[in-house]
Symmetry: C2
Subunit: 218 residues, 2 copies
Amino acid sequence: MTSMDRTSLTRLPHLASSDRAELDRLLDDAVVGHFAFAVDERPVVMPTAIARDGDRILAHGSTGSGWMRVLSSGVPASLAVTAFEGLVVARSAFESSMLYRSAVLFGGCEPVKSRPHKERALDVLTEAFLPGRVVEIRRPTTRELAATLVLSFPIVEWSLKISTGWPDDTEDDVTGPAWAGLVPMSTTVDGAHAAPDLAAGIPVPASVRALAGRRSPP
Amino acid sequence: MTSMDRTSLTRLPHLASSDRAELDRLLDDAVVGHFAFAVDERPVVMPTAIARDGDRILAHGSTGSGWMRVLSSGVPASLAVTAFEGLVVARSAFESSMLYRSAVLFGGCEPVKSRPHKERALDVLTEAFLPGRVVEIRRPTTRELAATLVLSFPIVEWSLKISTGWPDDTEDDVTGPAWAGLVPMSTTVDGAHAAPDLAAGIPVPASVRALAGRRSPP
C-alpha cells in the first residue's frame, strides 16, 4: 500500500478535510495523542501528551521509557489526535454518531537532542498544557534534561475528519415520533486543589487561574 | 518480543494496576478507543467509539470502511483507551504531568455475525453512549444491519496505568516559591439542540435529559 493509499484509508468524502488550518486547530486544542508503531512486527498503541510546534508535533517522556526509545529510533509510526465533542442523536441507532474531530498522521519521530532545542521544546509542551506556566517555575536542570526524551514528529502526511453536525435521518424517520438533535460536550476545569505540602501564603498562580475559566474540547 | 514483554512495555511500577475492576471502570467511562494495526507492515492508528460488554470491547462501523474490514480479519491489533482527567501541576516542569487513566490491550478483533448477536451488540453500543436510548427508537432494519460491521475485541492481554495524584517535587522545590496542586477536569454536557427538521411537539427524550445532568471523565 502506498503512502497515498494509507492516508486515504481514513477518508470518508463527506467528512474529510484537507484544511491545514483546521488540522492545526485540532492539534492545538488536543493535549493527548496516540502513537502506533510496531514492536517485533506486532502493533502497539500508546497515549501521550502532545503539543504542536509549527510543522511538527512534540512529545516527551522519560529516557527510561521503552516505548519512547523505540519511537525515537525513527521507526514508522502513526499518530492519532482525536477530539470527542458530543453526540449526534439521530432518530435511529444507525444514523446516530459522534461529534468529533480526528486527525491521523503518518511518519516517524526524531529525538530533539541539543540542549537549547530540548529546553525550548519542553517550554512549548509546558505552555501547551498550562499557558503562562513557564515564567512561574524554575528552569530545568541539566540532570532533568538528560533524563527527558523529547520527540519531534513532522506534520507531513495526514488526514483529517470533522463530523458535520445534524443527524441525517431518512424521510420516514423524520416524520416519525423520535427526537433528534445534537448534544455537544466539552472539557471543564473543576477548580484547583493545592498540594498538601504547599507552603502557607503561596497563591494560586495566574496560569492556573486563567485555566479555571476555560472550557475546551477534550 | 513475547506478549508478556509487550504488555510490560507499558508498565511503570508506581502507576501500573492489575485491577480488572479498575480496567472495567475505565472502559465503561470511555467512549473512544484507538486501534493500532498494520497495513502492509506500516502501523496505522484509528479512533473509534467503543463499549465494554463483559469480557469484550465492541466497536462498529460501515462495511464500507477499509480499516474496519482490515481489523475484522483478525490481524494483530492493539487498543488504547485513555481518560484525560486533568493536570498535575508541580513546582517544576519536570515533575508536572497529567491526571489520567490509560489502558492498552493486545489481541485481535472478531466480527459479530449472526443477526441476534449483532442487534444486541449494537444495542450495547447505543446504550453506552446514551443510556436509555434503545427503547426510544425503532429497531434496526435488515438493510442497516447488513451495512454495519460489528467488531468484538476480547479483554485478555492488557495493562493499566492510573496516575496517582499529587505532585512529587524535590525538597528544594517544596521549600521554593512555586505553587503546586491538581487541576481536575471533566467532560460536561452543553445542553441539547433539536435538529432543524424536528417536528413540532416532540420533547427532549428522557435519555438526553438524563445525560444533561452528567459530568464524567472524557
